[in-house]
Amino acid sequence: MSAEPKIFSLKQVLQSIRKTIEERYQSLYWVKAEMHKLNRYPSGHCFPELLQKEDGKIVAQISGTIWKQNFERINQRFMEVVKEPLKDDLTLLMQIRISFHEVYGLSLEIVDIDPSYSLGELQRERLETLKKLKELRLIDANQQLDFPLLPKRIAVISAPASKGLNDFYQVLENNKYGYLIERELFPAYVQGDLAINSIIEQLRVLRGRTDDFDIVVIVRGGGGEVGLSCYNNFLLCKEIADFPLPVLTGIGHSTNLTVAEMIAFRNAITPTELGEFLIQTFREFDLEVRDLGERLEANTLYFIEQRLLELGRNSEKLHGKTKETLLRRNHELEQSGQLLRHRTERFIADQKRLQENYQQKIAEKSMRYTQTERNGIDQILYRLENSVEKTLINQTRNLKDFEQTVRLLDPINVLNRGYSITTINGKIPTEKDLKEGATLETRTKEFILQSTLTHKEKRDEQ
C-alpha cells in the first residue's frame, strides 16, 4: 500500500534540529581548541575558526562566535593576564554554548576564555624553545662568540622611528667622549607575531654581510609589556643563537626574560642601557689605551733609569773590585815577604841545629869509640889472664901426671907392697934364659936372694 510521503518544509526540519539540539545541549561546556583565525568584524563581533589537529591534519573544525560585548570583556582580561591580545593561532580553553540557527547554522558561541590556560601555553612554548635549543647545543652558542675589541659597526634591527631606536641613537650620538659608532638600520617588526619572520628575515640578510658589522642589536622600546611572546619563538631564537656575530638585545620590558634575551650575547633592559653599554665598551678601551700609554712612558723611563743604575753598580763594582784586587796582590806580596823572612830564618835555624847536632854527635861517637876500644883492651886483658892461668894449670897437671907415672914405675914401690923382682944376669928373664940350673936373683924389700932354677912349667891361663 502506498501512502503519500509526508513532506516537511525546510524551516520545519531546521526548527526540529534546533529544538533537538537545544534540548540535548542545555549546559555550557569547557572546550580546548585552536583558534585558527579570530575573524573580527567591523561590527565588533568575531567569528573565529576553531579546529583541532592531529599529526598536522585537521580532525575537527567548526566556526565560533564571540559577540562584541563578550569579546571586549574576554580580550581585556586576556591582555591583563597573558600580556598578549587574542590573536590567530592560539590554543585556548573556551567556555561555549552550542547553538543552532535556522539561517546561520551550527556554531559554538564563545562566552568566556580562560587566560590562565593560555599563559600556561605560552610558558610551555618558552620551555619548549629552551629545550630544543639545548638539544641543538645552541643555548649559549652566541654567547661563546668573541666580543669585538670595539663594537665599531653595528647592525640595528628595529622599527624605524620608534622611541626605542631613538633612545638608542641618542645615547650613541651624544656621548661626551666623541666616540664614533657607525650603524645601519635593518627595519623590522619587533613585537607581535609579525616580528618573528620580520626579524628572521633581516638576520638572514645580515648573514651575507657579517664582514660589514661587528655586532647586531635588536632594539625595541615604548611598546609596553605586550607582544613579546614572539621572542620565545623557537625559529627566531635559533636564528639568534646560531648567528655568527654577537647579537645584543635591548627590548625594554620588565617581565620575565624571553628566551631570545636569555640566549643573546648580551641583554640590556632598555635600548638606552644597551647604548650605554656600547659606549662603556669604548670607554674601557679608551682607558685601557691611556693606561698603556702611561705604562709605556713610566716603564720606558724606569727601564732607562734601571740601566743607568746598573751601569752605576758596574762602575762601583769595577772600582771596588779593582781596588780589592790590588790590595789582595799587595797583601800577597807582603805575605810572600814575610814568608821569605820566616822561612829563611827557619832554614838558618835548622842548619844551626844540624851543626849543633853534629857537634853533639861527634862528642858522643868519639866517646863511644874510645869506650869500645877500652872494652876491647879489657877483653884482651881478661883473655890474657885466662890463658896464662890455663897454661900454668896445664903445666902443673902435666908435671903431676909425670910424677904419678914415675912413682908407679919406681921398682921400690913394687917391692914395698911385698912383691919381688926376679932377674937373670940382671935382666927380667925371657924364655931362653929360663934353663934349669940358671941362677936367679930375687930382690925383696929388704933382701937380695940368689937361687938356682930347678923346674919350669907354663901357666895355663896364658
Binding site: 675589541l149 666616540y179 664614533l180 679608551d286 689605551v289 698603556l292 709605556l296 716603564n299
Partner: protein, 66 residues
C-alpha cells in the same frame, strides 16, 4: 699573518710591547724603536675610538707595512 692589521692585532702588539718593556725583556738597543712603534699603536688605538672605520683601516694598513 695577513698584511692587513686588525684592531686586535694593533692592540695586542701594543700590549706586548708595553709588557716587554715592563718586564725588562728588551734591550737598550731596540728601546727607541719599540717605544716609537708603541707610540704609533697608541695613536691608532685612539683613532679607533673616534674615526670612521675606513679611516682607521687606512692607518692600520700603513702600520702593517712597517
Amino acid at each position: 699573518m695577513s698584511n692587513k692589521m686588525t684592531y686586535t692585532d694593533a692592540y695586542e702588539e701594543l700590549q706586548q710591547i708595553v709588557s716587554d718593556i715592563e718586564d725588562g725583556e728588551i734591550t737598550v738597543d731596540v728601546l727607541s724603536a719599540k717605544v716609537k712603534r708603541a707610540s704609533e699603536l697608541i695613536k691608532v688605538c685612539k683613532e679607533m675610538l673616534t674615526a670612521t672605520e675606513v679611516d682607521v683601516k687606512k692607518i692600520l694598513d700603513d702600520l702593517s707595512e712597517d
